[in-house]
Subunit: 321 residues, 2 copies
């Protein structure tokens, strides 16, 4: 089991939290009893607990019933609902390790998930995911990414995964200008100097990269993401595009993921679940606003039309409906 | 100032340690007084204190005299002696960050120092160095390495620096065979498939790599380091060679660094200081044994012949003479 999230609290708060977890574990156990599962209780309880509370419920449940709550959930519920609840129950770094592992196996269509995880999270959060990946898979994340890719794509993905970017706010404007030009040259020609573009995108701090992207727009009359879209025909260019979008404005990026997931014939439940579960306790509220501004439809309403059953109830609960 | 090393201890031990640090700070302050410095006291005190004690002395000195002990030392002593004491006084991860930074500026002749740091330390220790580098230089280590190199050499160095290798003991023997063959093909031809060799060396766990190097020897009749020596004419091949030696047997590697440092006309004091200071509290005793076995001369005697003055006294103190 992954390390629990440690939060400082008073002894009284600890006792109360423990009692609550105990009650939740009991209620869940009751929901599993007999034929069928009381899915409503599962959604009501787990959908309204914080990451810390969920870890405590899992621990308490295991101590009380000598059974892993996650394993029990897997046998009680199924399909997209199961997958969403399972992911929701994992500690965040551990969840991202699982998502990255699945994405590596998915090959070409999983690259965006890997890029998203390591480009949106803070440098210290990425390290936590890499540590969780060690614990689960007895390999390093970069090791598995590298073994499944080649050429420039490998260089870019492994660089993004392995980078421990400086997290400070310092900007070097001269460097932003030089490197905006390098990126421009690199993207312009199809056989450009990708080595340098990869170096810049995988090693510079996010603040410095934002300055570089702004400078690009000022000097070259269009945003670097628009320019890249013209060329985004292969996996490498698509990966470049995704990385830049995740670094420049990850809320806008997530809005697009949701929009595409819902627009598809046969909704992309994995994409939908991923964004809702991973951002619910972070900035899902902002992403909902971006979605509304872009589509003039509330995200909840758009989702409600596309999915159904317990999965729908659970996702809408996480959306705060 | 860098983070202090935290060691658990009882309140009584804490009080005693603090009192000792206080006395040491006073004695050092006295050693700096008047014309000239009492170098003997500096050597006797600092040369016999653990990493934790040195950090405590530095803190106590600053509180008591409103002055950074390191700055004061810089103004009191000079030359190789100063450099050795300064490095000895830094917290290990911070010291390696400084060594790496100097090495990057040194260009081609500094590559081995960078490779040595990130290949000998444990994965978690490498992260600590990368964090210390952020704190000091407001850049990431891989960012500065990448900006100063190109091509395959960049790929190898950045890969070694950025990797967070899995630290477990699992070995996949089949993989060891496949990758021993890939390494063999890659080194054999001058224009080999370096991409794959770089992938293997920068991402696999050290235990797995040892199995691969052993398999190489079994299947190809010679050690991979010997084979590489035949080709080690350019910076890239030299870097490959250094990385493999640091991963296979770092004590043997350090013995060679010391041997070369002493053999040179005009001793390489930086190399000598680096090995003695960084390994003194780790495995310098073993390295001394390896040195004796290889040269039939005690390391202390070899060093005593080549250097002199306070620098010599200090280095011999760290060697336990």
């Amino acid at each position: 089991m992954a390390t629990l999230v440690a939060i400082k609290s008073s002894p009284l708060e600890d006792a109360e939290a423990l009692q609550k977890a105990f009650k939740d574990a009991e209620a869940l156990h009751k929901a599993f009893k007999g034929w069928g599962t009381d899915e409503k209780s599962v959604i009501t309880i787990l959908g309204h607990r914080s990451v810390y509370q969920r870890q405590q419920i899992r621990k308490t449940y295991e101590e009380k019933y000598q059974e892993d709550l996650l394993k029990r959930l897997e046998s009680e519920i199924s399909g997209d609902f199961e997958r969403a609840v399972y992911r929701w129950m994992l500690e965040p770094a551990d969840r991202d390790a699982v998502l990255a592992h699945v994405a590596i196996k998915d090959g070409s269509k999983g690259y965006n998930v890997i890029i998203e995880i390591v480009s949106v999270l803070s440098p210290e959060e990425v390290l936590a995911v890499r540590r969780a990946y060690h614990n689960r898979y007895k390999h390093s994340l970069e090791e598995d990414v590298a073994a499944h890719t080649t050429g420039h794509l490998r260089q870019l993905l492994v660089g993004l995964v392995s980078s421990f970017r400086y997290g400070g706010d310092e900007i070097n404007p001269k460097l932003a200008k030089t490197e905006a030009d390098i990126l421009h040259e690199s993207i312009k020609e199809k056989k450009g100097n990708y080595e340098e573009a990869i170096r810049i995108l995988t090693t510079r701090s996010k603040t410095q990269l934002l300055a570089t992207f702004n400078r690009y727009k000022d000097d070259h009359g269009t945003s670097i993401t628009k320019k890249l879209l013209d060329n985004a025909s292969d996996d490498f260019h698509k990966a470049l595009h995704t990385a830049i979008r995740c670094i420049s404005d990850h809320k806008k990026y997530y809005e697009k993921v949701l929009r595409s997931a819902l627009k598809r014939i046969g909704t992309d439940e994995d994409g939908l679940t991923r964004v809702v579960v991973t951002r619910a306790e972070k900035d899902l509220k902002d992403i909902k606003e971006v979605y509304y501004k872009r589509n003039s439809v509330h995200l909840e309403d758009a989702i409600a039309k596309e999915i159904s059953g317990d999965y729908k109830k659970f996702i809408l609960t996480l959306l705060g409906k």
